[in-house]
Amino acid sequence: MTVVETLLVFVVAPLAVVLLAYGLVLLPALKERARYKPGTPWGHAAVWYEPHPEGGAHGGGHEEVEHTTGAQAAALTIGETAGHPRDTVGNPRRTASGGARGTW
């Protein structure tokens, strides 16, 4: 066996095997998005999710109508006084009446 062959068999081949195992272990973790860990910065824009409207409209035109605030606010002003979230000046009225708070 020449020196080159010895190196190939005893150094390069084991190294290739080790690197393959390394890659196989790390690949799934690379594809996965960063998992939240408490204490680390969140780094995402604020999101506000709401339930799908009754009837299961999925991205249809119906949904658009429901989320334009103008028409809805007007409807609420006329129809409802109880749940109406604005005072006479137009500022958001306090609607909260309970709940809980916690930290982690």
């Binding site: 506000w48 999710y49 708070r101």
Partner: protein
């Protein structure tokens, strides 16, 4: 404060084309979507979920969000969590508070923060929503009569 809290309300849809990637994978979004929609449908209350920065006075910020949450605010329940501040706020409207007393909310908060502390945001949210909707039960109209 109004500039700080942007109105980003939206139902969860599959084809999101935001400039920034959503913080959750599609599978996680599907779980959140189902939890939100089913708990709202079962109870007749309106659960919304806010994830993002809250002002320093987190309670006031969450209450302001609740006032702007759309629909009938009395019947809506806001679950607001600020992962950076590590704060969770649940805000109930006047009608929702009758079916979800503060003690029930506190219990759900405990469940959720336990999971959040372990780094499991989605699991905590899903379990907390389930607990809240179990506590609230069905709306009076759907309840079986004795």
């Amino acid at each position: 404060m109004a500039t700080e809290l942007e109105d980003t309300r939206e139902p969860i849809v599959d084809d999101q084309e935001g400039a920034q990637a959503p913080p959750f994978s599609p599978a996680e979004l599907a779980r959140l979507d189902e939890a939100l929609t089913m708990s709202s449908r079962e109870t007749g209350l309106r659960f919304t979920l806010y994830i993002g920065e809250l002002p320093t006075d987190t309670r006031a910020g969450a209450e302001e969000l609740h006032a702007r949450s759309g629909g009938d605010a009395a019947e809506s329940v806001l679950v607001a969590l600020a992962p950076d501040q590590r704060v969770l706020e649940i805000v109930t409207g006047s009608a929702a508070a009758r079916r979800l007393p503060d003690r029930a909310c506190a219990l759900a908060v405990l469940t959720m923060t336990g999971r959040f502390g372990a780094g499991d945001l989605v699991g905590g949210i899903v379990n907390g929503l389930r607990q809240l909707s179990d506590q609230a039960g069905h709306p009076a109209a759907n309840r079986p009569r004795h």
